[in-house]
Symmetry: C4
Subunit: 282 residues, 4 copies
């Protein structure tokens, strides 16, 4: 099990190219936020935007349109109830983050089915929160897309049937192989299962134990995989930076809200590319 | 009558544990905010979140959904009009704060009745603002939950029948005993009646005399009792810190709005745990 | 014509009393904001709140409820279309600011009529923007309330029939006497006609020439008259401080938006009470 | 091809006159923002406001009213679906910015037709985003207004039929002459085609490659042409400053969101007028 460290992440974050444009940095669709949990997908999408994703669209319950545009004028909106529009939109996306605040009702299930059916083999689908619940408990079509799961310990137990005291590195790896997916196992020291490799995060603290933190991490991973050439480096960097920022904030805050973390992403990414003595642009 | 002092509050605020997660810090339901006073419950819930409550849900009039998600994406939403949903939600909560901006109409009464009926003996219900009015003036079912009341002087008079000039420590204590509840009596030097004890706050100033301050205090108390092992320490700390922050802000502000106070909570809590020479996490 | 100066305003701003509560600082109702101009009344009310008004209610078109609560959770909301609710609310108010974004249609007229009819002789009504237009062009009932008008030069011309080149101090004073009101005549050096006196402002700059500035000034005047014992000192202080803050901001900003000014009000008021070597609270 | 430099832009930005008022700085109408892309027109209008435009109105889909007033209380609102209201409003405007988030459906087309038909020869219409698409692909009436187009490279190709490798200065100039318009050709070093002249920007960086940047630039140009006496100086200054701010922010941010840029506009404009050793006001 390898450690994710500052030095490694500094080397992982790519330089932006002089002649790039917004399309260069990926199209990311965030899918979630029902009438009760609209904030979750807004946090997730905001994290993606602040991570540098080129173009962000949010498919969410239509009652969330006003709040979304108020908080995130940079994001485009899609009414989640309109499955045809959703299907069409998925086609042009690089990454789909599905689950934050999605809910577990019939609409949620239909939405997830649409994502699984429509996403193709060049696309990446990140499955988070309620989408993990639905993935485990409902009949879903096979998807051609590459999958990333971001369960916390309890969700991992229901995904694998492994009780907490049988969740060892090896048993986890076996289950990950069966899933044929990348797994980010969220815990006080988060683990990333990437193909044969297992990485352990070295940042994070209990001031981050508050609602919406998982949604924020999912958004950062989505934003990073959309931009980085290398998915592994993207996932590891997002996991590390999310908690690194949390650690920095915890020096002066008893609790750190997701929105506090999100605001800092562009600044911390910059620090990390500077520290490595690299030019920021090439 | 004991004084609430900085030294005591520094010792009251607990350290967060390394292996904790958001569930460790409590589930708090905020109930209030009709069509006219939606802002009140948003201030209250925001104070709870910034105080470190793990998971915050807001049951409010459905016309407040957009504003709630815009201001507080970290909070979940529940339409207050749907009493069945409310009842179901209450079951999984640790603390319920009811009253800010609730109103005094039939819906408000039905909502409060639902809270009283549903909350069980392991739950804590904080009764504030319009809920105090309804508690005094309407027929409400007995509740099994532990109660905290947060009246200002005028509300205390209607609760007890005691005119202002008969509100002595001893007469108040008698009434508190009858109520079988904790009472936070808001005045320029707020008093806390906790079982046999009476505590007096030593912070607060007239720059805080503005609408929404009481809602904010109620939210802080709710957030603290959800996290602290000891309810008395939680209530006393919230009362003290709310006005301590107000005092700090009043050094540079002629008036301090509730939202100014709320933003400072995580920072001031951190200062207080540092001052005591404690490690912040264990 | 006397000059409004820093020294005078420092002496005008009252100290807050230790035992005061929010009711001490006045109840202010802001009336305006139709479907097209909701922002105007929000700026006005926000200025009133940041000026220290104790309790702020906003009567505005019901389509503005969500935006109002998002921007100003400290304010209460009233649907402007409901004239009965409006009438009832006016009864308990100290000050009514009417006009910002009100519009000039039938609803606007009915609203203004309700304000004029309902406000009594112990109440103060500030007539701004579209309400000035309606006052001049429509048949309105006499009102018992004291009136403050805040016209700009063009509005003053239509109010008085005086062309710009006949607006001298003496001709203006005659018209003010006929109106039996206080007049704040907005120009690059704003003039205040208060009973027999005329005061001229000494602050202000062209970086403030942007939409919403007048609404902001109206809100500050409303907030100040609600708190100060002396209406004259309140009006003069608001006129001075509004532009004083604008001058301070213009040192680093090419243009200063109303929201920039509003945020600074509590801080500048504090500076002014400190400069005078006074204790802030008594 | 002349370079747009700091020294030139410092000389371009006009001083504000002491006796000016908001009407002096122009009336700008922003038209765009359908149900999916309301944020785009809000960014554009916000950029216009922060650039110093005197009065800003936004014609956008009615579902965007709440978000608009929350983000931008200084702006007036018009429901885009009401073509009669739109037509009437255009009459009193100096500048119309059309396109950001407009969409490409029948409503969008009708809106653009209304703008083209109604705008007269003393008015300036800036055609951006989806309005460029509609201009190329749909039958639109001739307009008497002066036109500014702000295409990116791909849009310029569809406007001109010139493949990327045939877009030389001379071929571009020919096409610009046919269009009888000003063209701002957005690329990593943006070019401005103004009558016989071609100017090249010297600022900009890949941290700005994110959604909404073009909307923001369009808003700045709109705000500048409304204020400056000289349209050429206005366009060149907006192009330069937009990316200059982006360069400043990129020193500490890996990615710079449009809202980050917008906040800085008033401060950077001030710096530029100071650097030139000029008084800011005359």
């Amino acid at each position: 099990m390898e450690k994710i460290t500052k030095e490694k992440v500094e080397a992982f974050i790519p330089k932006r190219k002089r002649d790039s444009y917004k399309g260069t940095y990926g199209r990311v669709l965030f899918v979630g936020g029902n009438q009760n949990m609209g904030g979750a997908i807004m946090l997730s999408a905001s994290a993606g935007l602040h991570s540098g994703a080129g173009l962000v669209t949010v498919a969410t319950h239509s009652s969330n349109q006003a709040a979304l545009h108020t908080r995130l004028p940079e994001a485009m909106f899609l009414p989640m109830e309109d499955l045809n529009q959703l299907e069409e939109k998925i086609d042009s996306m690089d990454v789909i983050v599905v689950g934050p605040g999605l809910g577990r009702d019939t609409l949620a299930l239909n939405v997830l089915q649409t994502v699984y059916q429509t996403a193709g083999k060049d696309q990446l689908v990140l499955v988070d929160g309620d989408a993990i619940y639905l993935h485990v408990n409902e009949k879903l079509p096979e998807t051609e897309a590459s999958l990333i799961f971001t369960p916390h310990l309890g969700e991992w137990r229901t995904m694998t049937g492994l009780p907490l005291d049988e969740q060892y590195l090896e048993t986890n790896q076996e289950k990950v192989k069966e899933l044929n997916a990348v797994v980010v196992l969220k815990k006080s020291r988060t683990e990333v299962y990437y193909e044969e490799e297992v990485w352990q995060n070295t940042t994070g603290n209990p001031a981050m134990a508050t609602g919406g933190m998982g949604d924020t991490l999912a958004g950062m991973i989505g934003g990073f995989v959309a931009q980085f050439d290398d998915n592994k480096k993207a996932v590891l960097s997002a996991v590390y930076l999310h908690s690194y920022i949390g650690d920095e904030l915890a020096k002066t805050q008893y609790v750190t809200l997701p929105s506090h973390i999100i605001e800092k992403i562009p600044f911390t990414m910059k620090e990390f590319t500077k520290t490595a003595g690299k030019l920021s642009f090439i």
